[in-house]
């Protein structure tokens, strides 16, 4: 574990990309191949099968630390990471251990056959033998979720430096549902003919937000425009008579969208589509709101009733593979033409539709179109350069999202709660209210959008203006007005105000605005009527 801990510390400590890549490349050049394989797996969200439940871990940690469980839980709420909380509350380690990363994983896996007493003995022993970062990482092997600020991009860059292979190829090799249990470093990274499994997706190409408007993009004729849908990005793979659905976060979601299985009847094998998953009622002119989709994403197995109430379609906007061949090098206009050809005969019963393009002559006419996006339940427009290849990851230049300006409302802060993790020492989670007569009605929480300096300032103020405490929540003097930005508004019976907002965040601290001039519940209801 020592070598892995040193790598982790080097990456975790630094904010400099060059330092991280150098540390990773070093490691990938000469660490043990099994350790390397596991390192790539862990940094890309894979982990060994969980040998111990997190509930047991919490109980044992509290017991060894000699503290009550509630105190452990309170500490966890502030630290924000279970593995870290455990590492911190335990007494210092009494001895040391030389087992490498892969051996620890092997030992953890063999616990699956043991009874609980043996598992506990193993974990407690490990806690005694590992200190600091090593102990934290051991816990992470059990709990999962290595967030180290190593993007796929950084990892492929380092791998490329260590192996001499091109980054794009490595990025593709790392996609899909491989697991260290059924592959090797050689097969995953080095083997010349990597016989990819049928489910392996392509890395998604991600767009940048267009902040200033499209004038700087050049001539409109070089660009294509589509709605930016408010669904979830998905890649539909049809190969060998099977179908696979991947999310942008590289999660395999095939079982969540059984209706997409019928795509096999409509499109030939060797087809891979990039598109948007949307809930779309038969015959409807526009998709349902994101809320309807959320109910579907939350279910691993979909009950029949929900399948009927919230049917999902893929709105395809790009073609990545056709007749078994990678299409990504071809210009977007050609891929699009091929996609239109493929979708030409899709009947209304097919679970795939072509996402329409909107012809335009001038940026001004496109701006007019964009202004109507909300009527279509879209978030704005996507702009794609006609001659661009399909790149991997977030690369500036060829794809832009030109979103609508968010809705905004001025609201009064009435409750504050401290953050966790990065912002453990600041008040960052606030509840906001609007006026209803002389009363303030809470309607949303928000915890992002301010600068660190602003969070420090408001923290200072909260400490001096606490009216009442409810556990970690403080009721504060109504005084500060914030402009809250959000992407959508929905009727909600669970909220006192009767509305629920989508992606609420603090856009501006309106120190210029007196308390009385915050918006009212009627204003909020009017927004619901217009945009709900």
């Amino acid at each position: 574990m020592k070598r892995f801990a040193a790598l982790f510390a080097a990456i975790d400590q630094s904010t400099k990309t060059t330092v991280k890549v150098a540390a990773l490349a070093d490691y990938f050049s000469d660490a043990d191949p099994v350790d390397k394989l596991w390192t790539v797996a862990l940094f890309s969200g894979r982990r060994p099968k969980r040998a111990v439940t997190t509930n047991r871990l919490r109980e044992w940690a509290a017991e060894v630390a000699g503290i009550p469980l509630w105190l452990f839980e309170e500490s966890y709420a502030i630290v924000g990471d279970l593995a870290e909380t455990i590492a911190l509350v335990l007494p210092p380690n009494a001895s040391v251990d030389d087992r490498p990363l892969s051996q620890w994983i092997k030992d953890l896996r063999s616990l699956a056959q043991e009874d609980e007493a043996a598992r506990k003995a193993f974990v407690l022993e490990a806690w005694q033998r590992l200190g600091g970062t090593e102990r934290f990482l051991f816990n992470k092997l059990i709990t999962g979720g290595f967030r180290v600020g190593v993007s796929q991009k950084l990892m492929t860059r380092a791998l490329s430096r260590a192996t001499g292979k091109p980054e794009a190829e490595l990025a593709h090799r790392l996609m899909g549902n491989w697991h260290p249990d059924d592959t090797s470093w050689h097969n995953l990274i080095e083997a010349e003919d990597a016989s990819a499994d049928a489910s392996r997706p392509y890395p998604f190409y991600l767009a940048y937000a267009l902040e200033e408007g499209p004038d700087s993009l050049g001539h409109p004729q070089e660009w294509r425009a589509e709605w930016k849908w408010d669904g979830i990005r998905g890649q539909l793979i049809l190969r060998d008579g099977d179908y696979y659905v991947w999310s942008r976060g590289e999660e395999l979601m095939t079982d969540r969208f059984p209706e997409l299985a019928r795509a096999i009847d409509h499109l030939p094998p060797g087809t891979v589509l990039d598109g948007e998953l949307l809930v779309w009622q038969p015959g409807a002119a526009q998709p349902d709101s994101f809320n309807a989709l959320q109910a579907r994403i939350g279910r691993k197995m979909v009950p029949k009733k929900l399948l009927k109430e919230a049917p999902v379609l893929l709105h395809a906007y790009d073609l990545l593979e056709w007749e078994g061949k990678d299409q990504r090098e071809r210009p977007f206009a050609e891929r699009r033409a091929q996609l239109e050809e493929a979708c030409k005969d899709l009947g209304p019963e097919a679970p795939v539709r072509l996402s329409p393009q909107h012809p335009f002559d001038t940026w001004d006419s496109l701006a007019d179109l964009r202004a109507t996006a909300r009527d279509e339940n879209a978030e704005g427009l996507m702009l794609k350069r006609a001659d661009s290849p399909y790149l991997a990851g977030r690369k500036k230049g060829d794809w832009w999202k030109w979103k609508l300006d968010p809705l905004t409302i001025d609201a009064v802060m009435i409750y504050a709660q401290s953050g966790s993790g990065r912002r453990a020492n600041l008040f960052t989670d606030f509840t906001f209210a609007v006026w209803n007569g002389n009363d303030l009605v809470p309607f949303t929480k928000a915890y992002s959008g301010l600068t660190d300096a602003e969070f420090r300032k408001i923290t200072h103020w909260v400490k001096r203006n606490t009216l009442q405490r409810f556990g970690p929540v403080r009721q504060v003097t109504p005084h500060h007005v914030f402009e809250i930005a959000f992407e959508g508004i929905q009727a909600s019976s669970r909220h006192k105000s009767g509305v629920a907002l989508r992606f609420p965040r603090m856009k501006r601290w309106r120190e210029d605005k007196p308390l009385q001039e915050a918006n009212t519940l009627d204003d909020l209801k009017e927004m619901l009527r217009l945009y709900g």
Partner: protein, 337 residues
Amino acid sequence: MARDPVLTFTDRGIYCAAGDFYIDPWRPVDRALITHGHADHARGGMGGYLATHVALPVMRYRLGEITADGIGFGEVRQIRDASVSFHPAGHVPGSAQIRVEVAGEVWVVSGDYKVTNDGLSEAFEPVNCHHFITESTFGLPVFRWQPQATVAAEINAWWAACKAAGKTAFLGAYALGKAQRLLTMLDPEIGPILCHSAVENTNDVLRGQGLHLPDTVRADAEVSPRDHPGALVLSPPSALGSKWARKFGAQESAFASGWMALRGVRRRRAGDRGFVISDHADWNGLLWAIRETGAENIYVTHGYTDIFTRYLNDNGWRARIVPTQFEGESLDAGDAA
């Protein structure tokens, strides 16, 4: 007949009716007893001040013209019906816990404290009392400090590595207390130690009253970075990454604070490195100090007040939260600590 409490908590600060004085008040009062010179405890505008002889020079430097009286550690002074004495709090040089006795009942206001001996501040001494007022800045079991020598070795290794890489090492710390403690931990064999003017001004005051600190160079606007290769620069956190700092060229920055124990905070705030060191007591330190006082009644001021108070109540103390305007170890503010 029930007596009035010896100390009460008012909107001006902690008040002693028997002696008609306040301790670390945050609004102007006639007579203020001050635990230590940090800005959240020693404020301007008081009619008269009483603090330890060691704490006074910095207070005078920071507050300007004040009417102040000094007192030695352990020396007993009668103020009307209250008998008052100051005892080491181990927080920064001169910092004190203030003991107040009225008709046999003893209260202790600890201000800010730490129980490990840093070799620079007068070491913390537990004071027997009935009522103890404690901070709780790091009153969570996740806070557990390493021995000072361990942290010193980490810092010196980092400095040496910076020097080997041709970089200047910037270490962020508060001007009063933390900076001088770090000075005593640094290994001057590695290279020259430079101090930002805000730090060096406080160094000068402390040297002037006889405290021994290693040699340092004032890093003001005129300093030429080229004359000091391999240097470590002690600077207030706010100056890290500033225009002044940038003229030193290739550099790494680190931050020394108890908050660096939390990975999330470290990643948000620490620059290249975070070193875990604090002038406040850790979890075990707080509990040890409270036990040593023998007090049954505990008043919990700034920090993780609700959690710490609940723990004390569950474990046989009578504890309650007291709102004050004291601050714990701030990551960001200038010098309140």
